[in-house]
């Protein structure tokens, strides 16, 4: 299936685009196309228009120490194909610029600004060339992901100010919010332009928790990358670590034992469960319905204690390792999980009936913060946010990993795109997750937990996609000497943040926290 569609895709390229490209179908069925940098926008645009592809990632790597140039990697997802299309293009060292995809693929916007920040490659034709991920006072000409950047030396700081979009007119006010917020949340700056209460423009400025995860990972041996990946984003540590482990395993060609695959599935879903509980509880709390919020938070606490009971960590930390999993699910843990989930399901029913029967709550969430399908598609919004806007995509079903291909489950999709649709997606996913865990526990095979990783040949690349509770999470690795040569992480939040700017338009300022909560994006996962 994969091979058929992909080879047809290459055959179908119009002659103008086909000249000068080299393509290759890999063993796993994925397609790699090498193109000239100037042909990249044309090919991506063609595939997008013809095959409705979406942009998984666009990132760069610095091959100069290997005697090469800079390289751009564009990963495209295709409907009905379980492996991505990989397009590579070399960028000349002296020109240090490339043709931007953003005019035809809006989702590439932040990716290209990130490349421009971290590699110093200018996206020609990009409509917005302001910095994105680095601090405002980062000196010009210092590009941290280039191989000649030395991370051990402090970087001098140059005071400067970020130029925000200006909205002017009679009665238009700017409301700066953050990066320091009330309450225990992460730092991010929101610049509203409002006319009275209605929002006419929102600009989100991120990067305040940029820690240099990708650079750090390039200096760590593979097994040290696991605790690092667990800490990329606080609440989906297990799924991030899983994505990293899978990527490394694909580098080394390591076959993970069956039992470990099932345990990975179970733990991923346990993570999704407690995160979703917190999310739906947060929605209730932000409408000032504290009673309902606490109902969900009690369940979240119970699930986290279950995590603690099963793995020794409330956040499922240290449960994953390369080549398998670290923690087993023995019979008594299995009983614990089954018993707790039964109780959680009953209590969650209570919560759902309560909020679904509450006019004052529904009035707040319905028609609030609508993200249209068109906007969601063009920005390639992923996860429950995308499914709330009608994008029927889920990595667990479309690119099965762990043991998901042996388990049946539904992917809930709603079309309204408002806060309530996103909340309902999460509510439905809670039930699906419980179902997945029950099935996986029943089918749990016996066997080994973990196998030795083996050797990862230098220069090989590995890609892994997982579905966190926020959506598709990607880890892309290029092997170096016992450690990654380049490690690209893309959290779901990175794709979803720009969508908030569109979803809040026309809403009123006091509804923004609710819209933001319904997206519930990670700041740390975005900033890396």
């Amino acid at each position: 299936m994969n091979r058929m569609i992909l080879s047809e895709l290459v055959e179908d390229l119009p002659p103008v685009l086909r000249t000068g490209i080299r393509w290759e179908l890999q063993d796993d069925g994925s397609l790699t196309i090498d193109v000239g940098e100037e042909a990249l926008p044309g090919i991506v645009d063609h595939i997008q228009k013809k095959y409705h592809s979406w942009l998984i990632s666009e990132h760069a790597l610095d091959l100069r120490p290997k005697g090469g140039e800079f390289q751009l990697i564009v990963l495209l997802g295709l409907p009905k194909v379980t492996v991505p299309v990989i397009i590579r293009a070399n960028v000349d060292i002296y020109a240090s610029s490339f043709h931007s995809l953003t005019p035809s693929v809006p989702a590439a916007n932040w990716f290209e600004r990130e490349i421009s920040d971290t590699f110093g490659l200018t996206p020609n034709g990009h409509p917005d060339q302001r910095p994105l991920v680095l601090y405002d006072d980062w000196p010009y000409g210092t590009y941290p992901l280039r191989k000649d950047f030395d991370p051990s030396r402090p970087v001098p700081r140059v005071p400067s100010e970020y130029p925000f979009r200006k909205v002017e007119g009679e009665g238009v006010f700017e409301i700066p919010v953050g990066p320091v917020h009330a309450g225990v949340i992460e730092p991010g700056h929101f610049r509203f332009s409002v006319a009275g209460e209605p929002i006419i423009n929102l600009e989100i400025r991120m990067g305040y928790t940029h820690r240099g995860v990708e650079k750090l990972s390039e200096s760590l041996p593979y097994h040290r990358g696991v605790p690092l990946a667990e800490r990329i984003s606080g609440d989906n540590g297990f799924t991030h670590a899983l994505a990293y482990c899978q990527a490394v395993e694909s580098l080394a060609g390591c076959a993970v034992p069956d039992r470990a695959l099932f345990i990975r599935t179970i733990l991923s879903e346990m993570e999704r469960l407690y995160c979703h509980m917190g999310d739906v509880g947060g929605i209730a709390l932000d409408t000032a319905f504290g009673t309902g919020a606490q109902m969900a938070y009690i369940l979240r606490e119970r699930l986290m204690q279950l995590n603690d009971q099963v793995t020794g960590s409330r956040f499922l930390r240290s449960a994953s390792c390369l080549g398998g999993v670290r923690c087993d699910i023995p019979v008594d843990s299995k009983k614990d999980i089954q018993r707790t989930l039964l109780q959680v399901k009953l209590d969650f029913d209570d919560f759902v009936t309560t909020i679904k029967n509450m006019p004052s709550f529904l009035d707040r969430v319905e028609t609030t913060g609508v993200l249209t399908l068109e906007n969601a598609r063009s920005l390639n919004v992923v996860g429950p946010v995308g499914r709330g806007s009608g994008i029927d995509r889920d990595v667990r079903r479309d690119h099965p990993y762990a043991a998901y291909d042996q388990i049946s489950f539904q992917v809930p999709v709603y079309r309204e795109g408002d806060v309530w649709a996103r909340t309902r997606v999460k509510i439905d996913e809670v039930y699906e997750s419980i179902g997945i865990i029950e099935q996986a526990l029943d089918k749990l095979p016996s066997g080994e937990l973990c196998v030795p990783l083996g050797e990862a040949p230098e220069g090989r690349t590995g890609l892994s996609l997982t579905e966190t509770h926020r959506g598709e999470c990607m880890h892309w690795l290029m092997a170096g000497k016992g450690q990654p040569y380049r490690h690209k992480v893309r959290d779901a939040s990175f794709l979803n943040w720009p969508a908030i700017e569109l979803a809040v338009l026309g809403n009123i300022v006091p509804d923004f926290p609710l819209v933001n909560k319904s997206f519930n994006l990670s700041y740390a996962g975005n900033d890396l």
């Binding site: 690092l228 009673t291 109902m295 009690i298 204690q305 009971q309 240290s318 029967n357």
Partner: protein, 113 residues
């Protein structure tokens, strides 16, 4: 929509479930049996330094007379416990780890051969 559902939450609050808040500061902290807190040195140690090597954050320092772990750097991953050839390091059950000063987070054990 049933009218009775409108008032569900009144039944679901304290009336049904009682108070779920734990008694923690007034009573003992209730941890699940498998909970892992800070690493503790419980058995013999011959200062081989495997734990210090295994630690991803370099929170452990071992000399011939002292085993010191800095809980301010520790991420409670358990690598040291797995890395100890004698199995002397265990992930403890003490979750009350706060200190008034930064130095208070450094816990030292005498190395017993």
């Amino acid at each position: 929509m049933k009218v009775t559902n409108l008032f569900r939450f009144y039944r679901l609050g304290v009336g049904k479930r009682g108070v779920v808040t734990t008694r923690y500061p007034n009573g003992p902290a209730e941890l699940p049996a498998a909970a892992q807190c800070a690493p503790e040195l419980t058995g013999k140690c011959d200062a081989c330094g495997h734990c210090a090597e295994a630690c991803p954050t370099k929170a452990i320092a071992v000399t011939t007379s002292k085993f010191t772990i800095d809980l301010g750097d520790c991420i409670y991953c358990g690598e040291c416990a797995r890395g100890c050839p004698k199995g002397s390091i265990v992930m403890g059950k003490n979750c009350e780890l706060s200190a008034r000063k930064r130095e208070g987070l450094e816990v030292s054990y005498d190395v017993r051969q």
